[in-house]
């Protein structure tokens, strides 16, 4: 099979590294016979999780077949390259939905497992891995193993959130949730500052199955952390009005055709946009029905929106602060951000429930903040290191699927179950064959930085 050597990047378009790509079309061609190998689905992790500088990247996009779908029980089995968008097309008309979904549907099933992604419902339903019934994993020695929460549970929970470093995820079996309609009943609640926003999100009277808050990252002083909590649930039979046409659906999707000039997103334009959005979205006081796509995947309507951040790309900084100190920690982070006068086009706050069993999984009980930061200069990385310190101080962690710059030391401090994970990784991949630019940056499997090799 031919390979393609080409510069490659994640969704954030930073960093850009030369990788050797291989794109199998047959399941049997998902092979682990190369040293330095990482699988890549849709390339929607932001940093270097699916990059392999001077190594092999195995594209799974063509190994995307749906193998089983039990319409009675809502159980589906598919090859890891299948995207959530493709899955939704099949399951939604039949009354089923994804149990957990990230903010884009253009991600692969395998990627969702490897990053143990979360949605707006983590505080109720946990993360993606909590709904996975089984994984067929292709190990370094070429063998195919089935792991489930009951069968080889150690390998299962090392693979859920394991960033593709335990083997190639070949097939995934997933439990779906039933829905009555494909609409979501949404309510917006306005908060004038961070304190109000936290009060809203903690209040079960406002909370819903899906809750997410948009924060005006440019607001300062007394308005710091002002935002809108957007709560929703799948519309019930009573809420669903027959004849209602989903206003968001027939819209033609648009695409950003080229890299925007870096200056287009500046503190002034973002402030203006945020103020406008705050008033517009905040003006919707009554509950309303929304199609599932505009609610869960607003940015999917704009193809290549990552080009908005210009040629140098951007970093998405997503961290979680444990429950007890969440308000204080998030406030400190927003303060740092606001003081830096670096624009963040997007700032999103979500609530997390209890930490799951995935050994390298990101979520833990608390609040998670995500910031999109365009790369203008090296100063950004100084700021982000400062944010790491704040996160560490409050006992939180940074999300690896978004990360492009965390240090090995900070990683070790943020992920205390790493040693346990590494033991399992070493037992199935003693030569550290599965490695990525991310894993090498974080010192995974290296003596000294990344912990002991056995």
């Amino acid at each position: 099979m031919h390979t393609l050597i080409t510069p490659l990047s994640g969704w954030g378009r930073y960093p850009v590294q030369t990788c050797e790509l291989e794109r199998p079309e047959r399941y049997a061609d998902l092979r682990s016979d190369v040293a330095r190998l990482i699988a890549r689905g849709q390339g929607r992790s932001y940093g270097d999780a699916a990059l392999n500088e001077n190594g092999r990247v195995l594209l799974t996009e063509r190994v995307n077949r749906l193998l089983e779908f039990d319409m009675q029980k809502g159980i589906l089995r598919a090859e890891a390259g299948m995207t959530l968008a493709e899955i939704l097309e099949v399951i939604v008309p039949r009354g089923w939905f994804l149990p957990v979904t990230p903010g884009t549907r253009f991600v692969s099933l395998g990627g969702c497992v490897a990053a143990d992604v979360h949605g707006k419902n983590h505080h109720h339903d946990g993360s993606f891995g909590d709904h996975v019934l089984g994984i067929e994993l292709i190990l370094a020695d070429g063998s195919h193993v089935m792991c489930t929460p009951a069968e080889k549970p150690e390998l299962f929970w090392a693979t859920v959130g394991g960033m593709g470093l335990t083997g190639i995820i070949g097939e995934v079996k997933l439990k779906l949730i039933p829905i009555f309609s494909d609409y979501v009943q949404v309510r917006h609640h306005v908060a004038d500052n961070l304190e109000q926003l936290f009060r809203l999100m903690q209040d079960s009277a406002f909370d819903d199955r899906y809750t997410v808050a948009w924060i005006d990252s440019m607001a300062r002083g007394a308005q710091l952390g002002r935002g809108i909590a957007m709560c929703g649930h799948h519309a019930t039979e009573e809420e669903f009005r027959p004849g209602f046409r989903n206003p968001g659906k027939p819209k033609r999707s648009r695409s950003i055709p080229f890299n925007f000039p870096a200056l287009m997103l500046n503190p002034m334009s973002i402030s203006a946009f945020n103020a406008l959005y705050y008033r517009r979205a905040g003006g919707k006081r009554e509950p309303f029905l929304s199609g599932y796509a505009p609610y869960f995947y607003p940015l999917d309507a704009i193809g290549n929106w990552n080009r908005m951040y210009g040629k140098r790309g951007f970093v998405q900084y997503q961290c979680v602060i444990p429950e007890a100190a969440a308000f204080e920690g998030i406030k400190r982070l927003l303060q740092e951000l606001s003081d830096s006068r670096r624009p963040s086009f997007l700032a999103v706050l979500k609530r997390f429930g209890a930490q799951g069993k995935g050994l390298l999984s990101f979520p833990m009980a608390g609040y998670t903040l995500a910031l999109d930061m365009p790369i203008r200069d090296e100063g950004l990385f100084t700021l982000l290191n400062k944010l790491d310190e704040v996160v560490l101080q409050y006992g939180g962690r940074v999300y690896l699927a978004k990360d492009a710059r965390l240090s090995a030391e900070s990683f070790r401090a943020m992920y205390p179950r790493y040693d346990e994970w590494l033991k399992i990784k070493n037992s199935v991949d003693p030569q550290n064959r599965f490695s990525s630019s991310l894993s090498r940056r974080l010192g995974v499997g290296q003596i000294g930085i990344g912990g002991t090799r056995e």
């Binding site: 031919h2 794109r23 047959r26 077949r65 089983e68 779908f69 099949v90």
Partner: protein, 245 residues
């Protein structure tokens, strides 16, 4: 049961895209190839995504002796077969020109095997006075070039064969369409240097099904390859032989 289409060489990217496009129209399918595991996966996928009936069975283009029995088993499983897409092909590599044992395989897969199964298909459709045969040839068959002339010769022969077959079956009302794709983004071409205007398999698959509703006998995909090949065919040989194509 809706009208069914037999896809020969069903595990290639173009074949899969073509099968998807037929399934999206509601056609039932019979998928055939050498790879049992892939057939099972693709058949399940198409059935679950489009809700159409999908059968599959083993088929080896080079095992020409088995073709008669193969077609019988297909029409037994799906009596309403209304058309065939011949989608198998084998590019080989540079070796094919120097080493005839490799070249023979290229000819066997792309031409001999195709001529064999197509003769059985033609004999089946002719008395029924209906049906279609879509043969996926290649622009490489339009002119011999040093880089892949064994493949080109086999595909060129296939194009001629389809032309003759079209002539024979026209009175019987059986459509024969020759499809000549240019560069398509498949495993066959992935990572090859010097490709341009590369089309997606999805686009090719949709256009193949679309061609059934049109009257053209020879379809270049995408369309502009007709004009590119017209130019390439008209370069005088004394000049062409000096070119590195």
């Amino acid at each position: 049961m809706s009208e069914a289409v037999l896809i020969l060489g069903a595990t290639s990217a173009i074949a899969r895209a073509t099968a998807n496009a037929f399934a999206a129209r509601g056609n039932a399918l019979y998928l055939a190839s050498r790879d049992a595991d892939e057939l099972r996966r693709i058949a399940a996928d198409i059935h679950l995504r489009y809700g159409v009936e999908v059968h599959h069975g083993l088929f080896d283009a080079e095992a020409t002796d088995s073709h008669g029995a193969f077609l019988k088993s297909v029409v037994t499983a799906m009596p309403k077969i209304s058309g065939v897409v011949l989608a198998f092909g084998y590019l080989g590599d540079q070796q094919a020109a120097r080493d005839f044992s490799v070249g023979a395989k290229v000819i066997a897969a792309n031409f001999t095997g195709a001529a064999s199964i197509l003769s059985h298909c033609a004999n089946y459709f002719e008395p029924m006075k209906s049906g279609f045969i879509i043969g996926i040839s290649s622009v490489a068959g339009d002119r011999g070039r040093q880089s892949n002339y064994v493949y080109g010769a086999a595909k060129g022969a296939l194009s001629l064969y389809l032309q003759g077959l079209r002539n024979r079956l026209h009175p019987s009302g059986v459509r024969v369409i020759t499809v000549k794709p240019g560069f398509v983004d498949t495993a066959m071409t992935y990572g090859l240097p010097g490709l341009f205007l590369v089309a997606s398999p999805q686009a090719i698959g949709e256009r193949i099904v679309h061609a059934l509703g049109k009257s053209a006998d020879v379809v270049y995909l995408p369309w502009f390859w007709r004009y590119i090949m017209q130019i390439i065919r008209h370069i005088p040989e004394p000049i062409f032989k000096r070119m590195k194509l």
